[in-house]
């Protein structure tokens, strides 16, 4: 009768189910157990970093790069291949992307192609493209071999066909070349280090920095800094700080937080914009309301990180909200605008709201069509905020939403039914964690409205819970108190920092990266300054060096 649960967690981040050598986000003095392997020594005989597979442009990076490279802000690409190895469909999409971009050549940055490719033959135009567009596209100077190769593409096509075809072939080739599609990092030798450890050269570092902070190619200033050998020490810091105030960095941060909150969906839930809610219970849940939730959340992130002092903790504690009438109604805000076309900043009730985890976008995403989901909310906090590991649920774990109501003749609240279904011994290993955390959100219904009486069962809501698995475990009476604990948690900061390190290097850090990760986490844990976190990552060994040996992760 009961749903089963696998005993797969110990209440702390479980490392023994990780692949050997992985580092979990638990450095920084939180007292958890070892990480499954020896820590690399910090400050020893030079940089130590893990070997990682070559990366290629992600769909987001591809679109941004094409727009920035060509100066065509309206260019829309359809490259969406995210498989580990590019598929034939992905290769075809790259071709389509190049061809569509060339069709829009009139929208490109003036002078990028200094001729009319539909006009009379002009070989100097081809040379100009090779000397100016190609290095920008490849994010570094051309080699003689590449130059000769591109010239042959142009010349052979011009001979076999015509000037227009030859220019199209040249441009299309540049936009599909390996140096454009893949992030190639060869590096330079490091004195005193093993042969496998190499330092990214200036152009490779510039590229890695721009894709880390902007998800796009370096701009002219960064290219210039790379060319002048200025990307070391203070020079690298200065460039990172400059780039962090660019709108592209804000856009990257917004996208990261959206994904960090799993508002783009997951294996067990739909994205914010794909949710369905019961029409009878929530007639107010319309596409316009969902859009407004997204606007509110992004405004909150921007306001907290960029209008204020950019402190991470405030993402959990701030009661500032940018709302329209519909949002104000759901937030039970008395001074909200009167229409949905008007927007205004106000402060939410601090006894009911605080930070990201009490906002409508998050709460409605982690809910079923009819009721809240303490299980999904609890799992989310433990896994995404604390970098905890619960393992896979057992085969008899059900995904049927627990809705409360009449259960064998007794009316139960959602909380009571969840407790009933997860009370078996095989369940408690995980659900002692999940439920304790998740129940603190019980006041927020399936669309995020705060309630004292449950809509579906009529039962009074009990939102008492406990934060477990952190460095600040404590009892709580609601999600506001939970959020306050998370704001003060070093483990949460460590987890956030680790997620950004993963972004920067393109994979989970390995044991060889432990030194860098610990240094980054330690600094961020002290300050909570998000901008400083980005700079710390950019200055770390794991960011500036590569390991060209082995087959590691």
């Amino acid at each position: 009768m009961m749903t089963g649960c696998y005993t797969g967690a110990t209440g702390q981040a479980a490392h023994d189910d990780e692949a050997p050598g992985r580092v979990d986000g638990d450095g920084g003095g939180d007292g958890d157990g070892d990480d499954g392997g020896p820590n690399a020594a910090c400050g020893g005989d030079g940089p130590v970093v893990a070997s990682r597979p070559m990366r290629r442009l992600t769909p987001t990076q591809y679109q941004s790069t094409m727009r920035d490279l060509l100066g065509d802000a309206e260019l829309s690409t359809e490259f969406d291949d995210v498989e580990v190895v590019l598929t034939e469909r992905g290769v075809r999409q790259l071709r389509t992307g190049a061809e569509r971009a060339i069709e829009r050549i009139a929208n490109w940055e003036p002078g990028l192609v200094p001729c009319d490719i539909n006009g009379p033959e002009d070989a100097t135009c081809a040379n100009a493209v090779i000397e100016s567009l190609a290095p920008r596209a490849f994010r570094r100077p051309l080699s003689d071999e590449e130059r000769a190769w591109l010239q042959s593409v142009y010349e052979e096509t011009a001979e076999a066909q015509d000037f227009q075809s030859a220019m199209e072939a040249l441009l299309s080739t540049i936009l599909q070349a390996p140096a454009f599609v893949y992030h190639t990092e060869v590096g330079t030798a490091v004195e005193g280090a093993s042969d496998d450890i190499r330092a990214l050269d200036d152009y490779e570092l510039a590229s890695r920095l721009s894709y880390f902070l902007w998800d796009s190619m370096p701009d002219a200033e960064l290219f210039e800094a790379a060319g002048a050998g200025l990307l070391t020490g203070e020079g690298l810091t200065a460039q990172a700080e400059r780039m962090l105030v660019d709108p592209r960095a804000q856009a990257k941060m917004q996208a990261f937080i959206w994904s960090w909150l799993q508002l783009d969906g997951g294996r067990a839930h739909f994205a914010l914009g794909e949710q369905t809610k019961s029409g009878s219970h929530f007639p107010e849940y319309t596409p316009e309301l969902v859009d407004a939730m997204g606007v509110e959340l992004q405004a909150f992130v921007e306001h907290t990180l960029y209008d204020g002092d950019g402190n991470f903790s405030e993402l959990f504690t701030s009661t500032d909200a940018y709302v329209n009438a519909s949002l104000g109604d759901l937030y039970l805000a008395n001074d909200a605008p009167m229409t949905d076309e008007e927007w205004a900043w106000l402060e939410l009730d601090p006894t009911k709201r605080a930070g990201l985890l009490t906002r409508l976008a998050f709460l409605s995403t982690f809910a079923s069509p009819e009721v809240q989901s303490p299980i999904r909310r609890g799992v989310f906090v433990y896994e995404q905020m604390l970098c905890g590991h619960l393992g896979e649920p057992p085969p008899n774990a059900s995904d049927v939403p627990v809705g409360g109501g009449d259960v064998d003749g007794t009316v139960l609240s959602v909380r009571e039914e969840v407790e009933l279904r997860t009370s078996e011994a095989e369940c408690t290993g995980c659900h002692n964690i999940i439920n304790n955390i998740g129940f603190s959100f019980e006041h927020y219904d399936a669309v995020g409205r705060w309630r004292s009486v449950e809509l579906t069962s009529g039962r009074f809501i009990d939102a008492s819970g406990r934060l477990v698995g952190s460095d600040v475990d404590d009892d709580v009476t609601n999600a506001v108190e939970l959020s306050a604990l998370l704001a003060d948690s070093a483990k949460v900061k460590n987890c956030f920092a680790q997620r950004w390190v993963e972004q920067a290097i393109g994979s989970m850090p390995s044991v060889e990266d432990a030194c860098s990760v610990e240094q980054i986490q330690s600094r961020f844990s002290e300050t909570g300054d998000v901008a400083e976190l980005m700079v710390a990552i950019a200055m770390s060994d794991t960011f500036r060096y590569i390991n060209v040996g082995g087959e590691g992760e």
Binding site: M1, P53, M54, R56, E78, D81, E83, V84, V85, L86, T87, E88, R89, G90, V91, R92, R95, E145, E146, W149, L150, S152, V153, E156, A160, Q161, S165, A166, A169, S172, T173, Q176, A177, P178, A179, Y182, T184, V186, R267, A268, H269, F270, Q275, T276, S368, P369, E370, E392, P394, P395, N396, S398, D399, V400, P401, G403, R421, M508, V548, E551
Partner: protein
């Protein structure tokens, strides 16, 4: 222009870009003309993969009686499993017009999933092994297969003998699922095209009923120049990357070669009218995909086609989507709790109506493909395209609520060029011979053996497929 394709019913001759015929007999048809060539036997292979299992009472080593928490239905099996001829059950009812061209199988396990998966199965494990039967790579964040899926194997074999423009096409009805089961090679997962517009434009790019447009020819020539250049540079690039990264660049080079092959083999065929509107849910997209597959096969653009159906809710079917199921995954999970002693016993009727409608809708897509391939307007001698094809319809689970790798549902359709005796039901449960309705379960057969049988139907002599987890070599007994 609205949904749906209109095909002229006319298939003109095939020819190469420079007027040189492909290595196929020269074919020229008008409506109703007979086959003029000499090739017999199975020509093409299709898969329809339906994520999320079927309506099954399969458990670990037995079947649920339907007296406890779980339901006791096995709706994959025929309505009368003892009948000498195939009597279709409610899920397969949409296929009734082609009943005599079907073979329904039960008790074919996924032994790789059972042996290497979590608790003898599991979402990711079954997804990566249900079409590959290959060893599972668990070193990454998500499991991966260490071998190709059966469709890729068939594509490679068929291309070697009867090359077509596309070695395979793969279309997907988007929605929730735990990963594509299609693999080109070890570690190379393939996702299907979910946009009918994009799929149509790609597959029918350059296809015309007469002389090619001069601008289209110019564009193709430019593409050829680009491909030549890219192949040169990617080959050089491969020499500069690590051993580990060579896999990615090798794959990229293979794909460039495929694009070049598609350029070099221009098909002349009256294409169907194009698709410009694909707005809608799975009911629109699924139908369009099925039509594209049929049209592509009729024009000889491919001999391997795949339709992947994600585990989606179907609010457009008769019973609609019940509240509480945000994901299709949730729908089949109710199976565990709707039995007479289950916590949701009072939802049994509603749940059954909904999931039956859902699974019947998916079968309706199979029916659409069968209808198109069995159309007498497109004959190959005295056989239809379907008669000379073999379709495999399957899922990663039987009972999706339990995630078990046992008893993977298998439906075969088409005569495989006369090699397959159809209109049959075979249950490989060792206990079924004594009692067709037994709840006891044990099977010696696996998808490894199924895939060997499929290869054998196409004249291949393989005796093994995939991992070493099968209980015996060779094909399924009694199938071929």
């Amino acid at each position: 222009m609205g949904h749906g394709l209109k095909h002229s019913g006319r298939r003109a001759f095939l020819g190469g870009l420079a007027g040189t015929a492909l290595a196929l007999p020269l074919l020229e048809y008008t409506h109703g003309n007979a086959w003029a060539g000499g090739q017999v036997g199975p020509r093409r292979f299709l898969t329809v993969f339906s994520h999320g299992g079927t309506i099954s009472n399969q458990s670990s080593g037995s079947k649920h009686a339907g007296t406890g928490n779980e339901h006791g239905l096995d709706l994959w099996r025929p309505a009368d499993p003892t009948s000498p001829s195939l009597v279709l059950g409610p899920i397969h009812e949409p296929l009734e017009p082609w009943r005599d061209k079907l073979v329904l199988l039960e008790s074919v396990d996924n032994r790789t999933g059972m042996v290497q998966g979590d608790y003898q199965g599991g979402h990711g494990m079954c997804n990566v092994s249900s079409l590959t039967a290959a060893d599972i790579d668990r070193s990454g964040e998500d499991p991966s297969s260490l071998g190709p899926s059966i469709d890729q194997m068939m594509a490679d074999r068929l291309m070697a003998n009867t090359p077509t423009v596309f070695d395979r096409i793969h279309l997907r009805v988007p929605g929730h699922q735990y990963g594509s089961p299609y693999f080109r090679a070890a570690g190379e997962r393939m996702g299907g095209e979910q946009s009918p517009v994009a799929a149509f434009n790609t597959i029918f790019d350059g296809v015309s009923s007469g002389a090619a447009d001069p601008e289209a020819l110019r564009v193709r020539a430019v593409r050829g120049s680009v491909l030549n250049g890219l192949q040169e540079e990617y080959t050089r690039f491969k020499g500069r990357v690590s051993q580990r990264d060579m896999l990615a660049i090798d794959a990229h080079l293979d794909h460039l070669a495929s694009l070049e092959h598609q350029l070099d083999n221009l098909v002349v065929c009256t294409p169907p009218e194009g698709i410009t509107d694909e707005s809608g849910d799975g009911d629109i997209i699924g139908d369009l995909h099925a039509e594209i597959i049929v049209a592509a096969i009729r024009c000889g653009l491919t001999n391997v086609a795949n339709l992947e159906i994600s585990d989606i809710i179907t609010p457009w079917t008769a019973s609609g989507a019940a509240t509480g199921n945000t994901l299709g995954h949730g729908l089949h999970h109710w199976a565990r709790d709707v039995g007479p002693t289950g916590p949701y016993a009072d939802s049994y009727d509603t749940w059954l109506a909904e999931i039956l409608d859902n699974r019947r809708w998916r079968m309706g897509l199979v029916a659409k493909i069968l209808e198109g391939l069995d159309d007498p307007a497109f004959m190959e001698g005295d056989a239809t395209l379907l008669d000379n094809s073999l379709m495999l319809m399957t899922s990663e689970f039987s009972n999706g609520a339990k995630h078990h790798a046992r008893n993977q549902p298998v439906l075969l359709a088409g005569g495989a060029g006369g090699a397959l005796e159809t209109g049959r039901y075979i249950d490989y449960n060792n206990y079924a011979a004594d009692d067709p309705h037994t709840l006891s379960y044990e099977s010696d057969e696996s998808i490894h053996n199924l895939f060997v049988s499929i290869l054998n139907l196409f004249g291949e002599t393989d005796s093994t497929f995939g991992s070493a987890d099968a209980l015996h070599e060779g094909g399924l007994p009694g199938l071929v």
